[in-house]
C-alpha cells in the first residue's frame, strides 16, 4: 500500500514539476519581452536628448532576463568589434521571437535620430503587443499548468496502478 501511495505521489509530483517548468517558461518569455520593451523605451528616451550610442545605452541598462542580458552583451561586443557581423543567440526564444529580436538589434544605430525614433516606435508596438499576449498567456496558463500537471500526474499514477 505504501509503495502504491509513493508511486501516485511521485507521478503527481512529476506532473506538477512539468507544469511548473511550463509556468517558468511563460514567465521567462514575459520577462524577456518586458525587458525588450523597457530597453526600447530607454533607447528612445536617450535618443530624444542625450543621443549616446546604442551600445552605451544598453551597457547601462539592467534587466532581470538572463537571455536579454546575453543578447545585449552580444550587441555590445559587435559594436566594439571591427568585423561588422551581428550574431544574436536564440536561447529559449521561438523562431518568430528570435527573428524579431535580431531585426531590432540589427536596426539599432543604422539611421539618423528621427528615423531611429520612428523605427523604435514601430518595434515598441510590435514587442508591446507580444508582451501583452505573453502576459495574458502567463496569467491564464501559468498557475493552471501546475494544477493540470499535478492532476495529470495523479491520474497517470492511479491508472498505472
Amino acid at each position: 500500500m505504501t509503495n502504491k501511495l509513493f508511486i501516485i505521489a511521485l507521478c503527481a509530483a512529476v506532473g506538477a514539476g512539468a507544469g511548473f517548468v511550463m509556468m517558468k517558461a511563460y514567465k521567462r518569455r514575459l520577462a524577456y519581452l518586458s525587458g525588450v520593451c523597457d530597453m526600447i523605451s530607454e533607447l528612445k528616451r536617450n535618443i530624444s536628448y542625450r543621443k549616446d550610442s546604442a551600445a552605451r545605452v544598453l551597457g547601462a541598462f539592467s534587466t532581470s532576463s538572463a537571455q536579454l542580458k546575453k543578447n545585449i552583451d552580444e550587441y555590445i561586443a559587435y559594436s566594439e568589434s571591427k568585423s561588422g557581423t551581428l550574431a544574436v543567440s536564440r536561447g529559449f526564444l521561438s523562431g518568430g521571437d528570435h527573428a524579431k529580436v535580431t531585426e531590432l538589434f540589427g536596426a539599432l544605430g543604422n539611421s539618423d535620430g528621427p528615423s531611429q525614433m520612428a523605427r523604435l516606435d514601430a518595434f515598441s508596438g510590435v514587442f508591446g503587443e507580444l508582451k501583452e499576449r505573453a502576459a495574458l498567456k502567463s496569467e491564464k496558463y501559468g498557475a493552471l499548468s501546475v494544477k493540470l500537471g499535478f492532476l495529470f500526474g495523479l491520474g497517470v499514477g492511479v491508472l498505472f496502478l
Binding site: 535618443i47 543621443k51 549616446d52 550610442s53 546604442a54 551600445a55 552605451r56 559587435y78 559594436s79 566594439e80 571591427k82 561588422g84 539599432l108 544605430g109 543604422n110 539611421s111 539618423d112 535620430g113 528621427p114 528615423s115 531611429q116
Partner: protein, 299 residues
C-alpha cells in the same frame, strides 16, 4: 592612442604601433580602394608593411567600403549620434580625434543635406605643443588682453597655437569661454577636456559659434572668448561680443594678413577695427605652428 587604433583596420594599427612614433602622426587618409596616406613628422608618406614608403605600389590599399567601416566604428555603430556633425563633413571622436568624411550628398526628408556612400576619411590627431604660444602671449597679451586674430592657412597649426594661448591666458586667472565648435581645441569628451586648456576655461563644445557668443556672454560672463575658424556668418555675433566689452581671440583661414584683408567677407571686421592685433602663423606643412609676424591694425 587606443581610440585611434579602434578606428583603423588591424593591419594598419599593427604597423603603426610597431614601426612608427605615434606623436609624429598628424593624420591618416583612407580612401576606398586606394593606397593609405599618412602625415608623419611633417611629410606625407604611404603606409606599407614596413612602415612608411614614398612608393604607392607597395602601400596598403584600403578595402572597398573601408571609409564606411571607419565611420561606423567612430560612431560606435550609432549613426544618429553623429548626423549633426556628419552633415558638416566631420565626426568628432573621443580623445580629440576628428575625422573628415567625404561621400555622396543626400537631402533627407526634412530638407537637411547630409552624406551617404562614404568614399574617404581623413583621421586627424590632436597634438598639444605646450609653450608654442608663449611668444604670442608675451608679445601681445602680457600687458593686458586685447582682441587678437590668428591667421594661417589650414594645417599650419593655428588650433595648436590657440589651444596653448587659451591655456596661458586661463592659467593666469582670466575667465575664458572656449567655443570649441568642432571639438578640436579642448577635445572634450563626456564633459571634460582631454587636452590642457587652462584652469579657468569654460568649454562649449559642438555648438554653433553664434549661439555660443549669445548664450555664453549672458550665462558665463567671460573675460575673453576664444574660438577657431571664423567665417563671414559669424561676424555679427563677434561684433556684438566685442561691443559688450568682451575680448575675442579667434583664428581665420588665410595665407597672411594681406590675403585676409583682401577677402571682401571680412571687410566689416577690418573697417570696424575689431581686432587690435593680427598674428600670422607660418604656412609650414602639417603641425609646425611657427609664428612669423605680428601686425597692429594700423600697419
Amino acid at each position: 592612442m587606443k581610440d585611434f587604433y579602434k578606428l583603423i583596420p588591424d593591419k594598419l594599427a599593427e604597423v603603426i604601433s610597431s614601426r612608427l612614433a605615434f606623436d609624429k602622426i598628424s593624420e591618416i587618409r583612407i580612401r576606398n580602394a586606394c593606397p593609405v596616406r599618412i602625415g608623419y613628422d611633417g611629410t606625407y608618406y604611404y603606409l606599407c608593411r614596413n612602415g612608411l614608403t614614398k612608393d604607392s605600389s607597395s602601400a596598403f590599399v584600403a578595402a572597398d567600403g573601408e571609409a564606411e567601416n571607419i565611420v561606423m566604428r567612430a560612431c560606435e555603430r550609432s549613426l544618429y549620434t553623429v548626423t549633426d556633425t556628419l552633415r558638416r563633413g566631420y565626426i568628432a571622436v573621443t580623445g580629440g580625434i576628428r575625422i573628415g568624411v567625404c561621400g555622396s550628398g543626400v537631402v533627407s526628408i526634412d530638407g537637411t543635406p547630409t552624406l551617404k556612400n562614404f568614399s574617404s576619411v581623413n583621421i586627424r590627431l590632436p597634438h598639444q605643443v605646450l609653450g608654442c604660444a608663449a611668444g604670442v602671449h608675451a608679445g601681445l597679451l602680457s600687458s593686458g588682453l586685447c582682441n587678437v586674430l590668428l591667421i594661417s592657412p589650414p594645417g599650419a597649426g593655428k588650433t595648436t597655437v590657440l589651444r596653448d594661448l587659451c591655456r596661458l591666458i586661463s592659467d593666469r586667472g582670466t575667465n575664458v569661454l572656449l567655443c570649441d565648435e568642432r571639438y578640436e581645441i579642448a577635445s572634450a569628451g563626456n564633459g571634460a577636456p582631454t587636452l590642457d586648456v587652462g584652469a579657468c576655461t569654460d568649454i562649449m563644445s559642438g555648438m554653433d559659434k553664434r549661439e555660443v557668443f549669445e548664450i555664453g556672454i549672458a550665462s558665463m560672463r567671460p573675460d575673453v572668448i576664444m574660438t577657431d575658424e571664423l567665417y563671414s556668418r559669424d561676424i555679427d555675433a563677434l561684433c556684438r561680443a566685442v561691443h559688450c566689452g568682451i575680448f575675442v581671440i579667434a583664428t581665420v583661414h588665410a595665407r597672411n594678413v594681406a590675403d585676409f584683408k583682401a577677402k571682401p567677407e571680412y571687410a566689416d571686421i577690418i573697417h570696424k577695427k575689431i581686432f587690435a592685433r593680427y598674428v600670422e602663423i607660418s604656412d609650414a606643412p602639417l603641425r609646425s605652428g611657427r609664428i612669423t609676424e605680428a601686425f597692429g591694425n594700423d600697419e
